[in-house]
Amino acid sequence: MTYERKFKIGKPILEVNNISLAFGGVKAITDTSFNVLEHEVRAIIGPNGAGKSSMLNCINGIYKPQKGSVSFRGKVIPNITPNIMAQMGLSRTFQNLALFKRMSVLDNILVGRKLHTKTNFLEVALQLPKVKKEEKLNRDRSEEIISFLEIEDIKDTPVGKLPYGLQKKVELGRALATDSSIILLDEPMAGMNVEEKRDMCRFILKVNDEIGTTMVLIEHDMGVVMDISDRVVVLDYGKVIGDGTPDEIMANQKVIDAYLGVEH
């Protein structure tokens, strides 16, 4: 596969340095480090309970790791919160869907435009011309994303009424609407059928290809992971047991042991 990428893989955009996270006595992550390069598709895999989602939650600032740090574009970020990370240009989706259930698809995606909305509530209340201008820009961008994801026909439906696969798409749409430089996807294809999975892969690769968004995804389907990711990091019991290209990972004895089990 030697096609020319529009956005060449560059320097590390995100680095996780020696992170340890424990909930009481339970160690979720132990001394874990890896990095994500700009414009790449990076997969995090591992058996259930390996600490993958906890890892994303640490990067995003929902969990506060006891040790270690996260650097973004080479700078260590002290006191990470989801809000600060969003402002730095990092967006995400959630494992168990965290959509705004009573709002329509369009409104959900419009919330993703929050950081591109500069007008305050008084200006909104009075509907000043600049509010209208900004709202139009945000709506146009959201409509663009909606047509990109091919969900035009459901854009006015409350999200809570949609089937699972479509909700996952809306969540990707909301993350895209932020125009972030990096998006974390927590099991974007869980519970999908083969066709939906193929669609989702197509969208992820298309975004990466056309806009150059760096993608970090957690996924269980090995076929998918090996197909779409540039590099893979494997976690097991909160530790990195493998890090490299899909081919390297497939040949890694530790990874094979973790997935298939070893005789003792």
Binding site: T81, N83, M103, V111, V124, A125, R174
Partner: protein, 355 residues
């Protein structure tokens, strides 16, 4: 549906026009009895305004708050003191400033929402209810050292013209309520409202999208308290015509909460429907008691029946239609429309068969 003016669609503008014609032309020409203005329409508008405040914090932002009457008291007494001590401000100016003073209290008592949620927040916000009333009672300055406990509200004077007749006061309330309702609708439909609802539906996701929980919650509490403050000032000056802290007790807070829930959480028109229902229902019950049973039922029993029915309705609405009466109204219109269209299709079909 595309908005054609501000955030309003063609349908909204038609509704607005109908409401305006009804409230500005038809009501004043046909209703001549003072009772309707002083006991129904004026309190309805004031309480609907306070309910919009409650909607913003509870229906839109999802923060269970119970203390609307406290903010109303803050607004009412701020108004009294402003007119008394800063007469240059004028009625409208005082109204706005008293709203802002209530908003300051809203910010203060909204802060617990950052740490606690649900029923615990409800208990925490009760503090506003009791603290504000206590403060007004404790420090004589707020009541201008009046020993009787009940102070007469000053007359309303706007641009040198007195507004003292029930009809004039009705128009004052109507104007303020209309303007604030339209502003609330703009906020609810714009980016501000989207942030509120995002925090309500899934706060962690909202934060990950860059919505600041602190700013959004505190903002909602402030705006809510502003609406309650203005409503409280109107309530005292146009309806009660007196100021006493007891009028703003916890019962009023509960009343506003009921209006909010029965009307429909997260709707602006629900505030008006809920307020109308809660105000008119006791009147209706009394009328039934007097005219059907000819006073055979004791008045205290009637007021107990009222409580029982409110309680039942609350439970029924919470279980079967959390979106309240506004949603029922919407469903009714929908079914009428589909019936109309289906009968039209039938007509078309039968005419096609005949051919």
């Amino acid at each position: 549906m595309k908005p054609i003016f501000m955030t309003y669609t063609k349908k909204d503008l038609i509704n607005l026009a109908v409401c305006m014609v009804l409230s500005v032309l038809i009501i004043p020409t046909f209703i001549k009895t003072e009772y309707w203005y002083t006991s129904i329409l004026i309190p309805w508008l004031c309480l609907a305004l306070a309910t919009i405040g409650q909607q913003i914090v509870m229906g839109y932002t999802g923060q269970l708050a119970l203390g609307a009457a406290g903010f109303m008291a803050a607004g009412a007494f701020a108004m009294f003191n402003l007119i008394l001590r800063v007469p240059d401000l004028g009625f409208v100016g005082s109204l706005i400033v008293s709203g802002l003073i209530a908003a300051a209290f809203g910010i203060l008592f909204g802060l617990p929402s950052l740490k606690v949620r649900g029923i615990y927040l409800m208990v925490a916000t009760l503090a506003s209810q009791f603290f504000i009333i206590w403060m007004i009672d404790k420090f004589g300055w707020f009541k201008n050292y009046d020993s009787s406990g009940i102070i007469t509200a000053q007359d309303i004077v706007i641009l040198g013209k007195p507004f003292t007749t029930p009809l004039a006061m009705y128009f004052v309330c109507l104007a303020v309520t209309t303007i604030l309702t339209l502003l609330a609708m703009n906020m609810a439909r714009g980016s501000t409202g989207r942030n509120w609802m995002a925090v309500r539906d899934m706060d962690i996701a909202a934060e990950s999208m860059g919505v600041s929980l602190l700013r959004t919650k505190v903002q909602a509490f402030a705006i809510s308290a502003f609406y309650c403050g203005v409503a409280g000032a109107l309530f005292a000056f146009c309806y009660l015509k007196s100021l006493e802290p007891v009028a703003f007790d916890i019962k009023l807070s509960f009343k506003i909460l009921f209006m909010c829930i029965l009307g429909g959480l997260g709707t602006i028109n629900g505030a008006f429907i809920g307020a109308a229902f809660i105000l008119l229902f006791p009147v209706l019950l009394n009328a039934i008691g007097n005219n059907v049973f000819h006073g055979a039922i004791d008045a205290t029993i009637i007021s107990s029946i009222e409580q029982v029915i409110f309680g039942l309705l609350m439970i029924i609405f919470m279980i079967y239609e959390p979106l309240g009466m506004a949603k029922l109204w919407e469903n009714l219109k929908q079914s009428m429309r589909s019936k109309l269209s289906s009968s039209r299709i039938k007509n078309l079909k039968s005419s096609a068969v005949k051919k």
